[in-house]
Structures are given as structure tokens and as C-alpha cells.
């Protein structure tokens, strides 16, 4: 057996199988697992905080994914122009993606400070009294959605690669046919980067449903569970309450949600994704 397959079995498939089995047990690490069948899954759907966590993850995904895609596409279009120093701009927009994790989350915590955070200072400058972002249950989730835009540099780069692959003659032909700027974007650019959009959409959905660091570091799931993402809820049960069986059930639920959404996006792709060799076979 090759080391790669051995590693896959031990470090990937092994834990996957184990977590599936654990999801049918009552297991707190310190005692032996106790087989409880589907109890964890039944309990999950009866738990108030599970629905809150699902709601938070859903809102975050529904807002942050399209917002991120739109902004990164807009940025990519801007960065696709030939001008002096464009490579510097591209580097600048990509740089935040390189710096990520807990350090950035801490930075955002300061930025959102209601009293002296930069965001509220800027809002104050234009006559708007900023909210207590991270202390207000109505504003904490929007704050994290804004935070999610920090990493759009990676998506922008992929869009940029897609834009640069569009043959220039297609734009010239469209222009000869009388297409304006918007028509060229709508009828040439968007269809020809639809495969890139598809790729970014799938990654965006998966990433949004797994977001953890920002929610854990910036708000710890609060205030009053307003940013209790499924991943944070899972973490709490696994490592704070030692409900490993229940946490495994949450993990498998998350997996099925991600898989379902991914399958839906794949199934919908023949309707809107353009492939060079023609429409993708169903």
C-alpha cells in the first residue's frame, strides 16, 4: 500500500468513518461510547439553538456569497484593464488573502469597536452614528458578513484569470455589432466566465457554511447567539460540553447540507454555465 493511500486511510477516511459511527452514540471522550441510534439527530432537530445556528449560517451564506462574488467580479473587471502599475494594484487586492486567520479576526474586532473603532469613526465623519456592532444582536452578523469581504482577493484572482482567457476578437465582433459596454459585459463577459463563476460559487458556498474563525474569535457566537454559526455550535458541543456524539451528528448534517447545495449548483449548471465545447451533458 502506498504511503499516500495509507495516510488517506488513517488521517482522512478513518476519522470520517469514526465520526459517522460516533454520531449514533452518546460519547463524552471520558467514558465509552453508548449506542443511541438516531437520538442525536432527533435531538438536534428539537434543539432551539440548532435552528438558531442553522438560521445564522443560512443568512450569512445567502448574503455573503453573492456579495463576495459580485464585488470580486467587479474588482477583477477593474484589475483587468491595461494601465501603469496594474500589477501593484493586483498585489494589493490579493494581499489580505495572504494574511488571514486569528490575527485578522482580532484586527476586525478592533475595527468594529463602537467607541473608537475605525469604522464608526469614519461613519461619524459623514454624520452617521455607528452601531455597537459586536454588542448588538442586530448588527453582529452584518459585521461578520462585512468581515467576510476581507478574503475576496482570492476569488478576484480566479475571476481575473477567467477574464484574461476571453478572446479579444469576441469583444471586437460585439462592438462591430453595435454592443455597448454593458451589453458586452452581459452578453460576452458573463457567459464566458460562467465556468469560473460556477467554480467560485461552489467554493463560496462550502466556505460560507464552514466559517468558524471569525465567529469564534470576534464574537464567540454572541451576542445572545446572534452569530452562532453551525460550526461554532458544533465546536461548543464537541469541545466545551464534550457531547462528541451530538457534535458528530451536527458535522454530518453540515456535510449533507453542503453536499445537497453543491449537487443543486451542479445540476443547475447546464442552465447557466457555458462550456467551450458546448453545453455540458446532463
Amino acid at each position: 500500500m502506498s504511503p499516500a493511500i495509507l495516510g488517506l486511510l488513517i488521517f482522512t477516511l478513518g476519522p470520517i468513518v469514526a465520526s459517522l459511527l460516533l454520531s449514533f452514540t452518546d460519547y463524552n471522550i471520558i467514558s465509552d461510547p453508548e449506542w443511541v441510534g438516531l437520538k442525536n439527530y432527533v435531538d438536534m432537530f428539537e434543539e432551539r439553538l440548532f435552528w438558531q445556528a442553522l438560521r445564522v449560517s443560512a443568512i450569512y451564506s445567502v448574503v455573503s456569497v453573492p456579495l463576495g462574488l459580485t464585488l470580486s467580479l467587479g474588482l477583477a473587471v477593474l484589475l483587468n484593464h491595461a494601465m501603469r502599475g496594474i500589477s501593484i494594484f493586483r498585489s494589493i487586492y490579493y494581499m489580505p488573502t495572504v494574511i488571514s486567520g486569528v490575527g485578522v479576526a482580532m484586527l476586525w474586532r478592533w475595527l468594529f469597536n463602537a467607541e473608537f473603532g475605525v469604522i464608526n469613526v469614519l461613519l461619524d465623519g459623514i454624520g452617521i452614528e455607528g452601531p455597537a456592532w459586536l454588542l448588538d444582536a442586530n448588527w453582529a452578523l452584518p459585521a461578520l458578513i462585512i468581515t467576510s469581504l476581507w478574503g475576496i482577493g482570492g476569488t478576484t484572482l480566479i475571476f481575473l484569470a477567467g477574464l484574461q482567457a476571453i478572446p479579444e476578437e469576441l469583444y471586437e465582433a460585439a462592438e462591430i455589432d453595435g454592443a455597448g459596454l454593458w451589453s458586452r459585459f452581459w452578453s460576452v463577459t458573463l457567459p464566458l466566465i460562467s465556468n469560473v463563476t460556477f467554480f467560485n460559487l461552489v467554493l463560496g458556498i462550502i466556505g460560507a457554511l464552514q466559517v468558524f474563525t471569525d465567529a469564534f474569535v470576534i464574537t464567540r457566537g454572541g451576542p445572545n447567539h446572534a452569530t452562532l454559526f453551525l460550526s461554532v455550535y458544533l465546536y461548543q458541543h464537541a469541545f466545551q460540553y464534550l457531547n462528541m456524539g451530538y457534535a458528530s451528528a451536527i458535522a454530518w448534517f453540515m456535510f449533507f447540507v453542503v453536499m445537497l447545495l453543491t449537487v443543486l449548483v451542479f445540476k443547475s449548471s447546464p442552465l447557466w454555465v457555458y462550456y467551450e465545447s458546448g453545453r455540458q451533458e446532463k
Binding site: 486511510l9 453508548e34 455597537a132 454572541g222 451576542p223 445572545n224 469541545f239 464534550l242
Partner: protein, 455 residues
């Protein structure tokens, strides 16, 4: 450890579980590679290496990290123990960050190789619930000094008799809550320092005098709730008024935060911020204190906090002291906590583990007089003039309120959920003025009682 088989559930041991998982993985390997799985040796429990009669009993102890000085003193303590018990016991003390501490302990239990003796915190109650802690009653009774209520606050030890009879931890230090005050601010205003006669009404009266507003901005606050903002602090108002947040500390069955006497305490704390404007809200507090506590900024006259703040307050660039927590409704009530050791039931050297715990609560107490790391549990050291001479003048008056103290914990299998999912989020909403105290109290009762009903 094996649990009883329930009527609707069946048990599998960890070994059976791992065996099943291994078979699953082996099946996958077979499918992937077409090769036969390599037979593996039957896993078995590792037994402790046999110790010759002449070699010392070796144990592992664990404590969480505090500060470089405290951590170093813990290492010195381990060396002292080893020297005092040379040839008999040998301890290997590990210090871990608090967030890794419990994971390591739980994983050690899971691996059937538990840490022999470790510092208690409320999370260890789940270890008791799972039958993992040693019943220390006979070990405790074997130390004659532990029967002397003149030396040890034995009445308070009952909180660690989880089954109502037997003790499961040996306390070595104690922490309480007190009122810290900035002497410079009081001197400047010509106001007498707080003392044991103070009530919360007096706190409000003085806080008004000590709050300074300049150009519409508060530059000095009279009061901050400090640890009274935590559930275990806020409940002291209810205690003083003759009620409590839940019916009993060990295995509570009902939360009663919405009792008007509890709500009144919450209302007082809120009013200090919103009505009297003598205390900062969370945003204002965060704006003032960034790297140090609000009290250490010197912009706060009084704060109710734990005695553990004495060491960090020592670095404050102003004179400060402490007084007993004020009285409410004519009575004083405050929380206390023990620091102490619990021993794993499955320890391979329980005698040595117990020896460490008892030595820490007896012989080692003398060291606490000089290093002042913790407040000694033994009265002789706690009231030793040499110990008191290095502490704030009001310290003794705080410790004299020990008779009014109750444990600031809740011991239940769902303690962490009660705190993290119910009490903390709702109190946050109340203190951030997003929820009235009445609504918050009712919310806590509803959600906490739902959790308790789940067992």
C-alpha cells in the same frame, strides 16, 4: 468505565468501537489496494511498569498556567514535594494553558491513562459524574488537622461533598469577592474609605460624588460592576435578599431568577449605568480599558471583583485598597471558590497523589505566606502577620466575611451549557440594555429549566 445498559440503548466499549472503526478502515484499504490487511496485535490496556519496592511512586500532576511567577513557583513546589518525599513519591507537574488543560485531562481519561492528581475547576464535576474521581473521604479523615474547624473552613467543604457525605477534593486555597477602591480618588474628594458597614445604597451615594463629567464626557467613573456582572456575582443580591438563582448548588432542579428579589439586584446594576450614569456601559468600558482592567486605568473609584485581582492591581500607579462586598437589604452575601486537588480514581499511585494534595493543604501552606501566590486555606497562614503585612490593609476585613460566603458555582452535568448557552448570553443582553431585567430573568428561567429537564 462501563455505564449501565439502558432500556432503549445498548453499550459498546471504546475498544469495540475502535475495533469496528479499524475493521471499516481495513475494508476500505482492502478495496483500495487489493491487499490483505496486516494483522494487528489485539490492543490491550497498558499496565503501569512494575515498581520495585525501593523506587518512588511516580505520579503526574496537572495545573493550568497563570503567570510566569506563579508557574515558576508551582515548579518549585513540585521540587519541594519531591525533596520532602525523596525515595517515596516523585511528582511530574505539568502546566498547560487553561484552554488546553481540560482537553488534555479528558483525553488522558479517554486513553485510560489519567493524570493522577489535578487542580479542580467546575468542569471536573463531569469527571465526578462519570465516576472518575477518587472518593477522598478516608484520605481526608486520615489527616487529623483536616478535622479542625478552627484551622480550616470545614463548613464550606460541604460543597465538595457531591454525594452529600464524602469529599471529592482537597482545598488548598480560597478566593472571594471584595470591593476594590482607588484611595487617591477618595482622598482627593475627601470621602471616607469604604468599610464593612457599607451598603449598596452607600455605594450609589458615593459613586455619584466620585463621577466626574467634563464637557459632556465622563472622565472618572464612580463605580463598575466588575464581577457582579457575571452570573455568580449577580446572584449575590438574591442571596442577600433571602433567595437564590437556583434551588441547590449540587444538581439543581429549578432556576428561579425571575424571583423579584433576584430581579431587583439586576435592576440595581443596570440603573447604575443607565439611570444614575455613575458606571460605564460595555462600550465605554472597552474604550477606557484596553490593555489593563478598568480599575487599573485609575479612572474608576470602585469595582466589585475577585480577590485574584490583588496581584494585577499591585502594579497600579495609584494607591488602592479593598473592603468587604457591601450589604444589600441588611445582609451581606458573597461568592467564594476553592482551589484544590482532585485525584483520579484510576490513578496507578493514589497514595502519592493524595500525599501531594494533602501536603499542599498542610505543610506547603507556610510557603504561601512568603510567595503570596494564593490565599492560604489554613487560617494560621491566612492570618499570619507576615502574610498580611504584604497585602492591602483591608484584606483581613474581606477574609473576615468568609462566614457570609457561598460557593459561586453550579454543579450539574450541563453546567457548561447552563452558563454558556443560557446565563451568559442573556445577561449580556440585559447589561447591554437590549433586554429588561425582568425579561432576562424570565428568559434564563425558561431556558435553564428546559435544559435541566433534559437531565
Amino acid at each position: 468505565m462501563t455505564k449501565l445498559i439502558g432500556s432503549r440503548t445498548s453499550l459498546i466499549s471504546r475498544r469495540q468501537f475502535l475495533h469496528g472503526a479499524a475493521q471499516g478502515a481495513a475494508g476500505l484499504a482492502l478495496a483500495a489496494c487489493g491487499a490483505s490487511p496486516t494483522p494487528t496485535a489485539q490492543p490491550g490496556a497498558t499496565s503501569a511498569p512494575a515498581q520495585s519496592s525501593g523506587s518512588p511512586q511516580k505520579i503526574r500532576a496537572m495545573m493550568w498556567q497563570n503567570s510566569p511567577v506563579l508557574d515558576e513557583n508551582f515548579k518549585i513546589r513540585a521540587q519541594m514535594f519531591n525533596e520532602a518525599h525523596k525515595g517515596k513519591y516523585e511528582i511530574d507537574l505539568q502546566l498547560l494553558p487553561y484552554d488546553q488543560y481540560w482537553s488534555k485531562l479528558d483525553l488522558a481519561y479517554g486513553a485510560k491513562d489519567p493524570i493522577d492528581v489535578y487542580m479542580w475547576d467546575v468542569q471536573a464535576y463531569s469527571h465526578y459524574k462519570n465516576g472518575l474521581l477518587r472518593n477522598l473521604q478516608s484520605d481526608f479523615a486520615a489527616v487529623s488537622a483536616f478535622g479542625d474547624s478552627a484551622q480550616y473552613p470545614l463548613d464550606l467543604y460541604n460543597y465538595w461533598r457531591f454525594d452529600g457525605t464524602n469529599i471529592f477534593g482537597i482545598p488548598e486555597n480560597i478566593q472571594m469577592m471584595s470591593l476594590f477602591y482607588n484611595k487617591d480618588i477618595f482622598d482627593k474628594a475627601g470621602i471616607a474609605y469604604p468599610d464593612a458597614t457599607w451598603t449598596y445604597d452607600k455605594v450609589l451615594e458615593v459613586a455619584k460624588e466620585l463621577t466626574i463629567v467634563e464637557n459632556g464626557e465622563t472622565v472618572q467613573w464612580g463605580w463598575d460592576k466588575g464581577a457582579l456582572g457575571a452570573w455568580w456575582g449577580a446572584q449575590t443580591f438574591g442571596w442577600a435578599a433571602g433567595t437564590s438563582w437556583f434551588d441547590k448548588v449540587i444538581e439543581p432542579t429549578k432556576f428561579t431568577v425571575s424571583d423579584p428579589r433576584n430581579v431587583e439586584g439586576l435592576q440595581w446594576l443596570i440603573d447604575m449605568v443607565n439611570v444614575h450614569k455613575v458606571a460605564p456601559d460595555a462600550t465605554q468600558a472597552a474604550a477606557i480599558a484596553q490593555d489593563v482592567s478598568l480599575f487599573q486605568t485609575g479612572k474608576l473609584a470602585m469595582v466589585a471583583d475577585g480577590t485574584w485581582y490583588m496581584s494585577s492591581n499591585a502594579n497600579s500607579p495609584f494607591a488602592w485598597d479593598m473592603a468587604p462586598l457591601p450589604m444589600w437589604k441588611g445582609a451581606r452575601a458573597l461568592p467564594f471558590w476553592f482551589g484544590g486537588w482532585v485525584v483520579a480514581n484510576a490513578s496507578k499511585a493514589p497514595e502519592a497523589a493524595v500525599a501531594w494534595a494533602t501536603w499542599s493543604a498542610t505543610d506547603y501552606q507556610k510557603e504561601l505566606v512568603t510567595n503570596r501566590d494564593w490565599i492560604p486555606i489554613r487560617k494560621a497562614e491566612r492570618e499570619d502577620p507576615a502574610y498580611l503585612s504584604g497585602l492591602p490593609a483591608g484584606f483581613k476585613s474581606v477574609m473576615d466575611t468568609i462566614g457570609d460566603a457561598r460557593i459561586g458555582d453550579v454543579y450539574h452535568g450541563r453546567s457548561a451549557q447552563l452558563v454558556n448557552e443560557v446565563m451568559n448570553p442573556t445577561l449580556g443582553e440585559v447589561f447591554n440594555n437590549n433586554m429588561t431585567p425582568e425579561a432576562g430573568a424570565a428568559d434564563i428561567d425558561t431556558k435553564a429549566n428546559e435544559l435541566l429537564a433534559q437531565g
